[in-house]
């Protein structure tokens, strides 16, 4: 693999990974102090800066390995790295006033703040490792570690409901990652026959080079386990049960990074495995399995949206729906559908985290997450109200927001490649549209209920930054970004 230049990418990659690890270590000691939140923002900012630096290098030099092939960065994962680091950074800005308010409300104590900050950084670090590693074994380890961090974050309020959500999350995702581990073992078995044993047999670059020679029987079974395992983490129906609970019961910044980032990383893991399985099998079976899972998730989540009473649960179901749509797009394969899937990953991340930021402050003002008790946000706090309204319109796919553009691309490729699925998708999108708009509208415009004044001014810059980016990308995607997405889409193949 000497065709990859390596030295230039090493420095930004090192800082990118070291900064959240250092942040986690430091915050484990002083995360409860006054400067804890500031350090959290600073460490995330350094990571975000490095991710852009890394992206610039990859855009110039192309794919690259680092540290003796242990890490691998190509246009596909570097875009997710940039997205992850960016949303991690904006969420840390949002989290600062939000968590301060939670402390004043008595839901967080000093030791819990320390745990929260340390785990936030460790979680970011683990996602970045999962994205940049070249070894599918290390990918598994990092995914499991990211799960463990979020289990602690989800249950941090220690209420009965939070503990239940955390326990369910742990057990379901624990079983899921063990399935993924078995899939990885089978993958290693298949690679063992071609490459020979040793650490090289789990390196993605090596596997990609010999994917057509991998044993099809083993690979099909391996892919089933990997899809089930990582699919649970991505919240695909029918293994989605942990997702709404975890989103509803954890602190809102965590809901934002779970929805906006962790689900993406899980989909990324599936994608890497799909490329190998598709190459080995050559019959399109992995793609069809992803189409089935994706379609089922979109449909079921859209109909379950109607039955939600908790605002964070509702948007959690919306995340399941969008992850289904993304999985469906990648399952279809081909340059256009892959392009749509990648674009949708970006748009969903930006929009959904913005919504959770607005939802967080709305719920704090109302003192509840029950939707029928949140009323008249616009009169109390126009910025939060508009943030929620615009965000909701963006997520249901109204033009001119970016989600509309990506959903349009996915739908048109569905019409071309799988005509019978397109009406089902349209139906689901319409149902989701009706559900979300009908719920959000009275919360924003309705009669004012008694609402609290927040002891600290909310951070609304991240909300409007994300929505602004979503809007800008919906109106105009710069050519360099299009060519980048195209290159990334060609890597997924299929």
């Amino acid at each position: 693999m000497n065709m990859f230049a390596s030295a230039t990418a090493e420095l930004p990659l090192t800082v990118l990974l070291a900064s959240p690890f250092a942040g986690a270590l430091l915050l484990a000691l002083i995360g409860h102090s006054r400067i804890g939140a500031a350090i959290n923002v600073l460490a995330s900012a350094v990571a975000a800066g490095c991710s852009l630096w890394l992206a610039a290098i990859i855009a110039r030099d192309g794919a690259s390995t680092a540290y003796g092939e242990l890490f691998f960065v190509d246009p596909l994962n570097v875009f997710l790295v940039a997205l992850t680091a960016f949303v991690g950074f904006t969420t840390s800005i949002f989290s600062r006033p939000y968590m301060r308010i939670e402390v004043e409300h008595g839901r967080m104590t000093a030791p819990r703040m320390r745990l929260y900050h340390a785990m936030y950084q460790l979680f970011l670090a683990m996602m970045l490792v999962a994205l940049t590693t070249n070894s599918l074994g290390v990918l598994w380890v990092a995914m499991e570690a990211a799960t463990l961090c979020t289990v602690l974050l989800v249950s941090i309020y220690r209420t009965p409901a939070a503990l239940e959500a955390g326990w369910k999350y742990f057990i379901l995702c624990g079983v899921a990652v063990l399935q993924a581990l078995f899939g990885t073992v089978l993958l290693y078995l298949a690679a063992d026959r071609v490459i020979g044993s040793g650490a090289g047999a789990l390196l993605w670059t090596h596997l990609d080079a010999v994917k057509t020679e991998l044993e099809p029987t083993i690979m099909s079974l391996a892919f089933v386990f990997l899809l089930l395992g990582y699919g649970t983490k991505a919240g695909l129906v029918p293994v989605h049960h942990w997702l709404p609970d975890a989103h509803a019961e954890g602190p809102t910044p965590i809901s934002a990074v779970l929805s906006g980032l962790l689900l993406n990383v899980a989909v990324y893991a599936i994608l890497r495995c799909k490329v190998l399985a598709e190459g080995a099998l050559g019959n399109g079976l992995p793609g069809r399995a992803m189409v089935a899972f994706g379609l089922l998730s979109v449909l079921l989540a859209a109909f379950l949206l109607h039955r939600q009473r908790d605002i964070k649960r509702m948007f959690a179901y919306s995340s399941i729906e969008h992850m289904g749509l993304i999985t469906f797009a990648f399952g279809l394969g081909g340059p256009i559908a892959n392009f749509g899937g990648l674009l949708h990953m970006t748009m969903h991340s930006l929009t959904k985290s913005a919504i959770f930021f607005a939802v967080g402050h709305a719920a704090q003002k109302a003192g509840t997450q029950a939707m029928d008790q949140i009323r008249g946000l616009l009169q109390i706090s126009p910025t939060v109200g508009w943030g929620l309204m615009i965000g909701s319109l963006a997520i249901v796919g109204m033009p001119p927001f970016g989600v509309f553009a990506s959903e349009f691309v996915i739908l048109t490729s569905a019409m071309r490649q799988l005509p019978w699925a397109a009406p089902l998708l349209l139906l689901a999108l319409a149902v989701a549209f009706a559900a979300i708009v009908a719920r959000v509208q009275p919360m924003v415009f309705g009669e004012t209920a008694a609402m609290k004044r927040l002891p600290h001014p909310p951070a609304l810059v991240p909300v409007f930054t994300h929505l602004g980016l979503g809007l800008a990308l919906g109106l105009y995607i710069p050519p360099f970004l299009i060519s980048w997405y195209m290159r990334a889409a060609s890597l997924i193949g299929g």
Partner: protein, 219 residues
């Protein structure tokens, strides 16, 4: 000697399967911990055996790590945990033990059928035991579903991980060292978190029965 050691792998595999069956129907928490310890011992011995037969020194390290983690550290932590939770002498009512056993047998047959084509393609010394490894994974999974008490679920989770490591050894003569270390670290971290969790659950619900954890439902 070599033939004997090759046979010994089958012996350890059979032990693993029997222990997995014993766990499904074991009602006493303390005995579950003992069974888990024995399972760890069988796993370590099997890894050592495969390491010797294939002359792979890194499997010795892996066997040593398994021994330390699964036979010494985790059981010690489990004993401390059940002492402090005061569930050491707890007896858990089981739902229909014979039916669970029958289900277990069905799972074993299924696992053997699933593993046969894969085992035929593997070139490892222990490939014939892949079916047993897969069967133990499924049995641990069954235990996780059928148990209501949190401690039993934790042990089922750990036993599932044991079976998976055995599957890795059986199918491929062991995973790369870096990955094995990562897995061990994750398991340890996960166990510590689960332990803390158990205390919090008991504090909140005055019980370790996870049926209390069913309030969050689809509205």
């Amino acid at each position: 000697m070599i033939a004997l050691l090759t046979q010994a792998i089958n012996l350890f595999a059979a032990l693993l399967l029997i222990l997995a069956f014993a766990m499904i129907t074991q009602r006493r928490v303390l005995n579950l911990v003992h069974l888990f310890t024995a399972q760890g011992l069988a796993l370590a011995a099997a890894t050592l055996d495969v390491g010797y037969l294939t002359a792979q020194p890194h499997l010795y390290a892996s066997a040593a790590a398994t021994f330390l983690l699964k036979v010494v550290l985790l059981p010690a932590l489990l004993h401390r945990l059940i002492n402090r939770l005061q569930v050491r002498w707890d007896v858990e009512p089981l739902l229909n033990a014979p039916l669970t056993m029958l289900l277990g047998i069905v799972l074993v047959v299924f696992a053997f059928n699933l593993a046969t084509p894969i085992a035929a393609l593997a070139s490892s010394v222990a490939r014939s035991t892949l079916g047993i490894a897969l069967a133990s994974v499924l049995l641990s999974f069954l235990m996780m579903i059928t148990r209501a008490r949190a401690v039993a679920q934790v042990i089922a989770f750990l036993s599932m991980e044991n079976s998976l490591l055995f599957a890795a050894t059986a199918a491929t003569n062991g995973m790369p060292m870096l990955v094995e270390l990562g897995i061990a670290l994750d398991v340890l971290m996960g166990f510590v978190i689960l332990g803390v969790f158990l205390f919090q659950i008991r504090e909140q619900f005055d019980s370790l029965d996870t049926r209390h954890l069913e309030r969050l439902r689809e509205e």
